[in-house]
């Protein structure tokens, strides 16, 4: 009897518009009516699904244009995977970048907590509320208040409140965070699911773009708890916060966008102060940077000669060598040359402090302080462990964008290697080098080899194919004395000197001398002397 009653009641209860919305969901392409957010051609055919840019850095690239317009997207993630930040940022970016008001339906945290929590991300929700750009629908639990269930009910009031809030501020975006908590409060999961389904359909009918966040219990497992994905399954995004070698690594993955394209796979992202989520689209990077034939000086005339006339203006140069063999000095000379030509150089130092760097530079006759005062140099020293690698990347990118240097030096890349997993590091190097190349500036990246003589580092292995030029600095042990050798291993697009030359460092910098003509095995770390006669004999042999 009760069952029957319930059915008739729902039929009468639902407006035709809402049921209409349900039909669209089941038959998205065959539906004869016009759905908001779907592009139609002149004959009324569907040409594609429109997307709205979220404004979340990097995400719009991964999603190839943003979230499907007028639809609901499920954001699923474990606890601490930045779901709420995503939900808040979706609205915040809409307000900041597009002046699109948004409604935030909170099921878990009270609005007061959200206002406080996101202020450090640079979002003043309270002000937006006053300006009528943001409205909360507070569906968080009432503390200390219990309810008794006495008969049939539905969540019609919640839907009415959402509709009211959307109308009140003319919202274009809705975030619902996080839906799992409502299942904990109303024990009839089937009823709650049905009600949420109605809400999702109504949201679609209102023509607003919505995201719903949901809890997951495992990083790799079911999409979400309570079978939520079934009613908003058009679009699913998964946020992960994976523990890998004692380090947390955040990634996002677009699992599906029904009827529209997106980049596949997991992409690293980070949450940073005053910005929120920043995704790092790796496969979105295109190999289409222009190539310059203009040469710039390395700051050392002899080295320029070895490289066939200097570095190319938009190339990436890897300087590899053991500790103390002159990498930082070579970088300093490179920066000093920029200053001489009235260009700006950015030095990102991860190994030495400002004071150490400035003192050392003055030892080579380079005045960093003067250069900074002139505005031709910017030295940024950061401790590698201070941030995660994703954060470092974003900070470096930001400084480059602001300072607009002509030359960028990262000293050293290997110092950053220890704060991340190998995979994370590889992604960082690729993202950084491609960014530098896109700016069409020259970049010197230094890499420290583990062994004093010969050898390579992990950094070298990851980066060598991306770089245009590789310069090796190596110690050479000769007659009980450590000497230094330099060679240009690779110089893309140019002839270069194949010799391994000796160099020494004094108060005026680096001086490159003659080649080690009678020594073999320098790069492998086992220098062997051969007599002049032997060298001549070998030369004859291969004539």
């Amino acid at each position: 009897m009760t069952k029957l009653k319930k059915h008739t009641k729902i039929e009468k209860n639902e407006t035709p518009a809402r049921r209409h919305g349900d039909e669209i969901r089941h038959l998205p392409l065959e539906h004869a009516g016009i759905e908001k957010g779907v592009r139609y051609n002149q004959r009324g055919g569907i040409t594609g699904i429109e997307k709205i840019e979220t404004g979340i850095e990097g995400f719009d690239m991964i999603s190839e244009g943003g979230l499907p317009k007028g639809r609901t997207t499920l954001i699923a993630g474990t606890s601490g995977s930045a779901k709420t930040v995503f939900a808040v940022q979706f609205l915040a970016e809409g307000i900041i970048k597009k002046d699109e008001p948004g409604v935030f339906v909170t099921f878990e945290e009270p609005p007061e907590d959200i206002r406080k929590n996101v202020i450090s991300l640079g979002w003043d929700v309270a002000r937006w509320e006053q300006e009528g750009k943001w409205a909360f629908v507070d569906a968080s639990p009432v503390v200390g208040e219990d309810h008794v269930i006495a008969g049939e009910y539905d969540l019609g009031a919640l839907l009415a409140r959402i509709e009211y809030a959307v109308k009140k501020i003319g919202a274009r975006r809705i975030s619902m965070d996080s839906i799992g908590s409502i299942f904990a409060r109303f024990s009839e999961a089937g009823l709650v699911r049905n009600e949420l389904f109605k809400i999702a359909a109504a949201v679609k009918q209102m023509g607003v773009t919505a995201i719903i966040t949901a809890e997951r219990t495992e990083e790799y497992g079911d999409i979400a708890r309570f079978g939520i994905e079934e009613f908003v399954a058009d679009n699913v995004i998964i946020l992960r916060n994976v523990l890998e070698a004692e380090k947390r690594r955040r990634t996002m993955e677009i699992l599906k966008f029904r009827g529209t394209n997106h980049q596949k796979g997991e992409y690293p992202f980070t949450v940073i102060k005053n910005t929120g989520i920043v995704a790092i689209p790796l496969s979105g990077i295109e190999l289409k940077q222009r190539s310059s034939t203009v040469r710039i000086s390395s700051g050392n005339a002899e080295l320029d000669k070895m490289c066939g006339g200097g570095f190319f203006r938009d190339s990436i140069i890897l300087v590899s060598g053991a500790t103390g063999c002159g990498k930082t000095m070579l970088s300093a000379e490179f920066a000093a040359d920029a200053a001489r030509n009235g260009e700006r150089a950015l030095l990102m130092a991860f190994e030495e402090s400002r004071e150490q760097l400035f003192r050392n530079a003055s030892g080579w006759g380079i005045d960093f302080e003067q250069m900074e005062n002139d505005g031709t140099l910017k030295v940024v020293c950061r401790y590698p462990e201070a941030e995660g690698l994703e954060d470092h990347l974003i900070i470096i990118k930001r400084i480059i964008t602001e300072f607009k240097p002509h030359r960028v030096i990262v000293d050293s890349l290997s110092a950053l290697e220890r704060v991340s997993t190998i995979k994370g590091f590889r992604e960082f190097v690729i993202a950084l080098t491609s960014f530098i190349k896109h700016q069409e500036v020259a970049g010197i990246l230094t890499s420290t080899t583990g062994e004093l003589m010969g050898g390579t580092s992990v950094t070298d292995a990851h980066i060598s194919t991306i770089t245009d030029t590789i310069i090796l600095l190596r110690y050479v042990e000769m007659f009980g004395e450590m000497r230094r050798g330099i060679t240009a291993l690779k110089m893309r697009g140019s002839m270069h000197d194949k010799d391994i030359r000796e160099f020494h460092i004094d108060g005026k910098g680096m001086h490159i001398g003659k080649a080690f003509s009678n020594v073999t095995g320098i790069l492998s770390g086992h220098p062997v002397f051969t007599s002049t006669e032997e060298v001549d004999r070998m030369t004859e042999l291969f004539k």
């Binding site: 009653k5 008739t8 009641k9 009468k12 209860n13 629908v137 507070d138 569906a139 968080s140 009432v142 208040e145 219990d146 309810h147 008794v148 269930i149 006495a150 008969g151 049939e152 009910y153 539905d154 969540l155 019609g156 009031a157 919640l158 839907l159 009415a160 409140r161 509709e163 009211y164 809030a165 409502i182 109303f186």
Partner: protein, 102 residues
């Protein structure tokens, strides 16, 4: 016994809403003998009031007075539960209680 102050939130004139109103009025007449003040709020007409009270489910009955504040959700067809919620608890025997829990 002090006077009861009750608010009933409904969403539109649905059968469920009507049932809740009828059930509540019957119960109040029987148990409270007119010693009550009842206001009915339609969420569709005054959504802000629902927002202020954080109403999610309808029908919801709120007992403001006498304290403590109580919320009863549903069409109030289960009068024992309603009485329990209004702190007018009838003595339930174990058999009945077991039938109530699904």
């Amino acid at each position: 016994m002090g006077k009861f102050k009750l608010r009933l939130y409904i969403t539109g004139k649905t059968p469920k809403s009507e049932r809740a109103i009828t059930n509540l009025k019957e119960l109040c007449e029987k148990e409270l003998q007119g010693l009550y003040e009842l206001s009915i709020i339609d969420v569709l007409e005054s959504p802000q009031l629902a927002e202020d009270e954080k109403i999610l489910a309808t029908p919801t009955l709120i007992k403001d007075l006498p304290p403590p504040l109580k919320r009863i959700i549903g069409d109030l067809s289960n009068s024992d539960k309603v009485l329990l919620g209004l702190d007018l608890s009838p003595v339930l025997d174990h058999k009945e209680r077991r039938e109530d829990t699904p």
